[in-house]
Symmetry: C2
Subunit: 61 residues, 2 copies
């Protein structure tokens, strides 16, 4: 499987927000994250960068 | 490996831009894509959405 973990960049810190994310889609003013288990989260954030071989998605508010 | 293919959304169409992308990073007014083979591309675009289990990254200009 090719899911990734989602981190929010906050200054110099990276806070893990959600594991095993499959899809990230724009929704209203933010993003809808859906994990491979079907869990969903809505965040007021944008996608900052990706490091897929490391299974990492970075967001910023 | 967990790389993905990058597609540009153009209206109703999706145009494949680059295969086997590892990292996507903001650079100047656009994005720097780097493949698992070390190839790089710069695009004036933003990340629109992700479908990682399908190995797809969607960009928009």
């Amino acid at each position: 499987m090719c899911e990734a973990n989602v981190y929010m960049i906050k200054g110099e810190e990276e806070e893990m927000i959600m594991e095993a994310v499959d899809t990230v889609e724009p929704e209203d003013d933010g993003l809808k994250l859906t994990s491979i288990f079907g869990e969903q989260k809505f965040l007021n954030a944008r996608i900052h960068s990706l490091a897929l071989v490391d299974h990492k998605i970075f967001l910023k508010e």
